[in-house]
């Protein structure tokens, strides 16, 4: 395991921000963190970065604790944007990369390449405060990975971006992972985690309520959905044993079932009712799992 967090707990006075969190990510893996505001995502990241020491537990990166000695291996994109507003784009990217022990010449060359990739080469000599929010976010991402870290920590990398820019940044992050980087990121958007990550954790009030590979999580969630599209009245099928929930849709109905055998029973009964146009067993979305585990007060 490349990144290894074992039973990390962080207390601020009486308040427990992170409670007994364990996590391991393989080298080259991408791990998504989901959680409401105040769930402990940023505190967890700060512990991984070595900005905060866990009250209990340990954090290891390739077997070593994270200190300023291995900080050049780590890249960080903070949740609240962090750049010098009055400094020019290139100047500040080079400065931040130099602090992570990259040479000035390399930093300049890489900056030019990344600006080119994000289609903003003309911003090189602009002050950051003159840029739009989306473009600032591009610069912020470049700042986190310019020095080629092997561990990249991204706190809400996609917030406040338009769909075109989200796709552009996603592509860049996936490419960076292909080059061998291990990536941890948090998001409000379940679909981003679902699309990018192999593994994920849902945090609620400092605890991991769901964690592991996304496929495992979905399977073990137990609840699956069966979609049936046909013209017959399907409401009578809601009485079938094992159907937890029934929703009428425009083209038919959606059943929430306990397991796959119930789906087979539904299929058989539906075929008796008339012509079946569409039958599908649908996996639960992360959003549904999240709402089920954390509660509905989450947008």
């Amino acid at each position: 395991m490349a990144l290894y967090v074992e039973q990390a707990t962080k207390k601020f006075g009486d308040f427990t921000a992170v409670d007994n969190l364990s996590l391991s990510i393989e080298e080259g893996g991408m791990h998504g963190f989901l959680g409401a505001n105040g769930a402990g995502k940023t505190t967890t990241f700060r512990m991984i970065l070595g900005l905060l020491d866990p009250t209990h537990g340990t954090v290891r990166w390739k077997g070593n604790p994270i200190t300023y000695a291995n900080s050049p291996e780590i890249g960080y994109l903070p949740e609240e944007r962090g750049l010098y507003p009055k400094m020019k784009v290139e100047e500040q990217l080079v400065y931040l990369a130099q602090l992570r022990k990259m040479s000035k010449a390399d930093a300049k060359r890489e900056t030019a390449a990344w600006l080119e990739r994000f289609e903003v080469p003309h911003y090189r000599q602009k002050k950051v405060e003159e840029l739009s929010k989306g473009n600032q976010q591009k610069i912020q991402l470049i700042a986190s990975l310019l020095h080629k870290p092997s561990l990249l920590i991204l706190d809400e990398p996609f917030s406040g971006l338009d769909p075109v820019n989200v796709e552009m940044l996603k592509g860049a992050i996936l490419d960076f992972q292909k080059q061998g980087a291990t990536i941890v990121f948090s998001s409000h958007r379940m679909d981003h985690v679902e699309e990018l990550c192999d593994d994920m954790s849902i945090l609620d009030r400092g605890k991991v309520v769901v964690g592991g590979s996304i496929r495992e999580v979905k399977r073990s969630f137990g609840k699956q959905k069966v979609r049936l599209n046909m013209n017959a009245d399907l409401s009578q099928l809601s009485a079938v044993a094992g159907v937890d929930h029934f929703t009428k849709t425009k083209d038919g109905a959606l059943f929430q079932v306990a397991d796959e055998t119930v789906a087979q029973v539904l299929l058989a009964k539906a075929m008796d009712l008339g012509t079946l146009r569409h039958f599908a067993i649908e996996e639960p979305s992360l959003e549904e799992i999240f709402i089920a585990k954390v509660g509905k007060n989450y947008a």
Binding site: K11, F12, G50, L51, S71, P78, R81, L96, L99
Partner: protein, 416 residues
């Protein structure tokens, strides 16, 4: 060490390149040249006015106006007497109309008498000169009537020799004090401005980095303590550079001023004694004062979340500096006062007050050394304490911005 220099360079260069820094430097340099030449400039205006400095004299005596004029010339007052043949009423009307500023009525009923009439009390300043001149005329007349010759008159008015001498060893003669005073005054002024200006810069820098959240990236790359001291060193070097520019400008301004700065105002605020040791002490106390207050400023800057709150938290520190400056400036005229001596050993006042004493008095060397040692120890303690607060403070975001946050910051820094 590598990242220390990168932060050092960045702190130095970004500030040095700002327009405000360049403009401030230029303005101060220009002000120095202006001040050094102030007596030349004043004399230009004086010269013009001298032409117009006409005193109308209504002479009711036996033609003493030429004697009076002779006295004015002797006194080098630049006043030109003009006999007038108008009546008093007409003269008063002229004043009311503004065609003349003032007039003098000379009378002689046995004794010589004079009455000076001017539009406003402002003119009365020249009244003293006129009085002296009339007095001199009167003395000459009386001497003449008594049959004294010039030599005897001279003896009569010979000024006594009045010399001040202080017997304390550290004390300098009044004359020596005056010679050093101008330089010490200017240098205290510079130190005062410097310990306000540069630490403020640091507090603002830290607060800006914190409010723009770039701090999180910085301190995940390098340790907050290294970051803090690199920044203090960077801005400190910038300060030394600026002070050196000011020093050179001041030196050349005085050299090129064309006056030796010993007359008039400068007889009390002298520049005639330019001791190298005074400059060296000035640089030393500037550095000590800077580091002392810079550490404090960085500590305070790390506590706020928004740059708007910096000034509020900086207030206690500013008050310390202002008290120190008040002691130092009042000590300019009485450097041996007890409160000056005591406060020169209090670390927060020492940069200004001990420098004043070193500059004005011949102190035994141990006194400044003890004061410097106390300051160094304070800087050490503050540096240690500041680093602890800073480590936690830079991670702390919230609306509160009071000194109570220091405890919170230390706790956060400790648990780190």
């Amino acid at each position: 060490m590598h990242s220390f220099w990168i932060i050092f360079k960045q702190a130095f260069m970004t500030k040095a390149k700002t327009k405000s820094f360049i403009i401030t430097t230029l303005i101060v340099v220009a002000a120095f040249f202006l001040l050094a030449n102030v007596s030349n400039i004043i004399s230009i205006f004086d010269g013009e006015e001298a032409e117009e400095n006409v005193l109308h004299v209504l002479d009711q005596t036996t033609g003493l106006v030429p004697d009076l004029q002779a006295q004015f010339d002797l006194m080098d007052s630049g006043i030109k007497t003009v006999p007038t043949y108008l009546t008093e009423e007409e003269l008063q009307e002229s004043i009311a109309e503004g065609t003349i500023d003032d007039y003098l009525v000379l009378t002689k009923n046995g004794e010589l008498g004079a009455r000076y009439v001017s539009e406003s009390a402002n003119e009365l300043g020249s009244g003293i000169e006129i009085e002296n001149a009339v007095q001199a005329v009167h003395t000459a007349l009386t001497a003449e009537s008594l049959g004294l010759d010039d030599n005897e008159v001279g003896q009569l008015f010979m000024p006594v020799e009045f010399d001040r001498q202080a017997i304390s060893e550290s004390s300098k003669s009044q004359e020596e004090l005056s010679q050093a005073r101008g330089l010490v005054y200017v240098l205290i002024m510079l130190i005062y401005v410097a310990v306000i200006y540069y630490p403020n810069m640091i507090a603002m820098e830290v607060a800006t980095e914190k409010s723009s959240r770039v701090m999180e990236i910085l301190i995940s790359s390098v340790s907050p303590v290294k970051h803090m001291f690199a920044k203090i060193a960077g801005i400190g070097s910038l300060g030394i550079l600026q002070m050196m520019i000011f020093g050179l400008a001041g030196y050349f301004a005085i050299k090129t001023a064309g006056t030796d700065l010993t007359e008039g105002f400068f007889s009390v605020m002298g520049f005639s004694e330019l001791k190298i040791s005074t400059f060296l002490f000035a640089i030393l106390f500037f550095l000590l004062g800077y580091f002392l207050y810079a550490v404090l400023a960085a500590l305070l800057g790390s506590l706020v979340s928004r740059t708007e709150d910096v000034q509020q938290l900086m207030l206690p520190m500013m008050i310390l500096i202002i008290i120190g400056s008040l002691i130092a400036f009042s000590g300019i005229s009485i450097p041996e006062a007890r409160y000056v001596t005591i406060s020169s050993f209090i670390p927060f006042f020492a940069p200004l007050v001990m420098f004043l004493r070193v500059g004005m008095l011949d102190l035994p060397l141990w006194e400044p050394l003890v004061s410097i040692a106390i300051m160094l120890a304070t800087i050490g303690v503050l540096g240690w304490f500041g680093a602890r607060v800073y480590r936690g403070g830079v991670l702390m975001y919230g609306s509160s911005q009071s000194l109570k946050d220091i405890r919170k910051a230390i706790r956060l820094g400790n648990s780190k």
